[in-house]
C-alpha cells in the first residue's frame, strides 16, 4: 500500500470534471469509486438472466449476492427441498446438543429480495441452447448458469447399503435432515454398553473434520447417558484428515477409553441385519452402524458434462468459478475439484459463491474480472456441547499454476478447543446462514 486511502468525508456535486477532481482529491476513496459506479448506472448492474441450481451454502449465497450487488439481474434459484437444513452443527443434534429446528431455514427472504425461487429437480444443463432442464419438463433460459449441486453418495462399492431398508437401519446422515434424526433415535435406543461403529471414506469428501466431530458428539452423549458404551472410528485414510491435535486431545482426554480410532480401515461392505461393518481384513459389529460413503458431484453435474476429474469432481477456472468443460456454467462448493488444501466446507462454498457472483457481474458487463482473488476457509468443530476448535486458511490465486494456493504463513489450528470458540462457531453459523438466506 503506497498511499493510504483517506477517510475524508466528501460532498459531491454532479457533472463537471472539476468537481470530479475535487472529489478524487478529497476522497481518492472507495466511496468515490462506488459513486462513479452509481453514476455510470453500473451498480444496478447488467441486465441478464442468471439461473442458479441448488439452494445450499453455495447456490443460495450466490443468488443472494448477485441480486444485492447487481439488482437489475434476473436471478432464479432452483432448489429441490422446501427448506434448508444446515449440515454444519448437525452433528450436535446426534448428541442432543442442538435441535434440527435450530438449523432449518426458509427461502422467503430470497423471494423478498426479488429472486425467483423454484422448487424443483434439475435434470441437466443444456449449454448448446443455454437452458436449464427441469424434471417437470420446464426449460429455463440463462445468460450465465451457476451449479452448486453438493455431493451424492457413491454406493457402488457398498452393496449392503443400497437397499432402502438398509438406509433405514443404518442412516448415513451426511446430509442433515430426517436421517440425522433417525441416527439420533438409533443412538437413543441403543442400550448402555453398546458400540457405535462409524466408517469414514477416503478423502476428499464433504467436511473433512466432520466424521471426527461426530465421534466426539456421540462420545459426549455416551459420557452423559451411556457411560459403558464405546465409539469405534474406522477410517479408510492413513490418519486423521483434519484437526488431528484437537480431536486426539479429546479422545485421549475426556473420552479416553471410550473412543477407539483405527486408520487404514478399507471398507468391503456392510451387513445390515448383523449391524456389522465388513472391512477387507476384519468384521466390526456394532449396536449402531454409520457408514459415510464415498462421494462425488451431484448427479446433474455429470449429466451436464461438468465432471472432469476422476469421474467425480468438476474442474473450474479459479478466477471465475466457470467450468473448464462447459462455457457459461459456473460450479461452486463441494462439487468442485478442490484446489490444494481446500476443503469441501460450507465456508468454502460461501466464498466460491461470492467470487463467482463478482466475476459473473463483470463478465456480463464486459469488464475484466479480478486478477488476484483471495478466498478463506474457517471450519469449527465441537468436541462436546460447548467447546469448539477451528482450522483456518487463506488461499490466493496463483497465476502461474492457475489455481488457488494457501498463502504462506497464513492459517492454523486452535491451540485448544474452548467455550469461547464454541460461541464463535455459533456466531459463524448465524452469519453464514444469513449470507445464504438472510
Amino acid at each position: 500500500m503506497s498511499t493510504p486511502i483517506r477517510n475524508t468525508p466528501t460532498t459531491r456535486t454532479p457533472g463537471a470534471c472539476t468537481s470530479r477532481r475535487a472529489f478524487i482529491r478529497s476522497g481518492a476513496s472507495l466511496a468515490a469509486a462506488s459513486a462513479f459506479v452509481t453514476r455510470a448506472g453500473a451498480t444496478e448492474g447488467p441486465r441478464a438472466r442468471v439461473v442458479v441450481v441448488g439452494g445450499g451454502f453455495g447456490g443460495a449465497t450466490a443468488a443472494r449476492t448477485l441480486k444485492r450487488w447487481a439488482p437489475a439481474l434476473e436471478v432464479t434459484l432452483i432448489e429441490r427441498d422446501a427448506a434448508f437444513i444446515s449440515c454444519p452443527l448437525s452433528n450436535l443434534v446426534l448428541a442432543g446438543n442442538a435441535r434440527i429446528a435450530d438449523l432449518t431455514f426458509g427461502y422467503q427472504s430470497l423471494e423478498r429480495l426479488g429472486i425467483r425461487v423454484i422448487r424443483g429437480e434439475v435434470m441437466a444443463i443444456d449449454a448448446s441452447t443455454r437452458t436449464v432442464r427441469l424434471a417437470s419438463g420446464e426449460r429455463l433460459p440463462y445468460d450465465r448458469a451457476i451449479v452448486s449441486p453438493g455431493v451424492e453418495f457413491d454406493l457402488a462399492g457398498i452393496p449392503g447399503l443400497q437397499a432402502p431398508a438398509a438406509l433405514a437401519a443404518m442412516p448415513i446422515a451426511w446430509k442433515a435432515g430426517p436421517e440425522t434424526l433417525r441416527l439420533r433415535q438409533h443412538l437413543e435406543a441403543m442400550p448402555d454398553g453398546g458400540v457405535f461403529v462409524m466408517h469414514i471414506p477416503q478423502a476428499p469428501y464433504r467436511c473433512p473434520p466432520g466424521p471426527y466431530e461426530r465421534a466426539c458428539q456421540v462420545a459426549d452423549y455416551f459420557t452423559r447417558e451411556k457411560p459403558r458404551s464405546k465409539v469405534i472410528v474406522l477410517d479408510a485414510n492413513p490418519d486423521l484428515v483434519s484437526k488431528k491435535a484437537l480431536f486426539m486431545a479429546a479422545w485421549n482426554g475426556p473420552y479416553k477409553g471410550m473412543v477407539e480410532y483405527r486408520p487404514n480401515s478399507e471398507l468391503a461392505d456392510v451387513d445390515g441385519p448383523a449391524r456389522t461393518v465388513k472391512l477387507v481384513f476384519d468384521d466390526v459389529p456394532g449396536g449402531v452402524v454409520n457408514v459415510i460413503p464415498p462421494q462425488r458431484a451431484g448427479a446433474m453435474a455429470e449429466a451436464s458434462g461438468l465432471v472432469t476429474a476422476n469421474r467425480r469432481w468438476c474442474g473450474v477456472d479459479w478466477l471465475t468459478m466457470e467450468s473448464v468443460a462447459v462455457k457459461g456454467v459456473h460450479v461452486l462448493g463441494d462439487a468442485t475439484l478442490s484446489a490444494s488444501i481446500m476443503p469441501k466446507s460450507a465456508t468454502m462454498a460461501n466464498q466460491h459463491a461470492k467470487l463467482a457472483a463478482a466475476a459473473i457481474i463483470d463478465l456480463l458487463a464486459d469488464r475484466p474480472v479480478e486478477p488476484n482473488p483471495t478466498l478463506i476457509n474457517t471450519c469449527y468443530s465441537f468436541v462436546d456441547a460447548v467447546r469448539a476448535g477451528h482450522v483456518a486458511t487463506v488461499h490466493a490465486y496463483d497465476a502461474t499454476e492457475r489455481t488457488m494456493s494457501v498463502v504462506k504463513g497464513s492459517g492454523g489450528l486452535s491451540r485448544e478447543a474452548n467455550a469461547t470458540e464454541g460461541a464463535h462457531a455459533w456466531g459463524w453459523a448465524r452469519n453464514i446462514w444469513g449470507e445464504a438466506l438472510g
Binding site: 486511502i5 472507495l30 435450530d102 477451528h390 498463502v407 456466531g427 448465524r430 452469519n431 444469513g434
Partner: protein, 132 residues
C-alpha cells in the same frame, strides 16, 4: 493500483479534451476496479462477520461503520501478533498491507444497520437468538 492521481483539470485548449476525457475514464475505471477489489476482499470476512459487516448477534463483532484507522491498526496488530487472537492472526497473515487497508476502508464506509439473519421455516423471525 492504490491511489488515483489522474487530474481532470480542463485545459484551455480544446485539443486537450480528448486526452482529458480519456484520463477521466481511466480514473473512473481504476476507482471502480479498486472498489470491486475491496468488495471482493471484504467478502472474505463476511462469512463470519455478517453480510455488509453486520453480524447477527455481534459474535464475531460487526465491522460496518468502524473507524477506518482503528480497524486497520487492529488488523495489522493481529498480523504482527501484537494483538492476541484465536483465529484472526491466522487470517490476517494471509493479506498484504494494501489488502488490509482496502478491507478496513470498505467496512469503515458501510453504514451501521441491522444484520440479515436467515429466517426460520414457519416465520420470518430470526432464529438467531434461540441458541447460546
Amino acid at each position: 493500483m492504490m491511489s488515483v492521481t489522474s487530474q481532470c483539470t480542463p485545459h484551455r485548449s480544446s485539443r486537450g479534451w480528448p486526452l482529458l476525457l480519456a484520463l477521466c475514464a481511466l480514473a473512473s475505471s481504476a476507482l471502480a476496479d479498486e472498489a470491486s477489489r475491496a468488495r471482493g476482499l471484504a467478502a472474505n470476512c463476511t462469512t463470519c462477520h455478517g453480510s455488509d459487516g453486520r453480524s447477527v448477534g455481534e459474535v464475531p463483532p460487526s465491522l460496518a461503520g468502524r473507524d477506518r484507522a482503528a480497524l486497520l491498526q487492529t488488523l495489522l496488530d493481529y498480523r504482527s501478533g501484537q494483538r492476541a487472537s484465536m483465529i484472526m492472526e491466522q487470517h490476517a497473515r494471509g493479506y498484504s498491507d494494501a489488502q488490509l487497508a482496502l478491507i478496513a476502508d470498505w467496512f469503515a464506509r458501510l453504514p451501521v444497520g441491522s444484520a440479515s439473519a436467515a429466517p426460520g421455516v414457519d416465520s420470518s423471525a430470526s432464529t438467531g437468538a434461540r441458541q447460546p
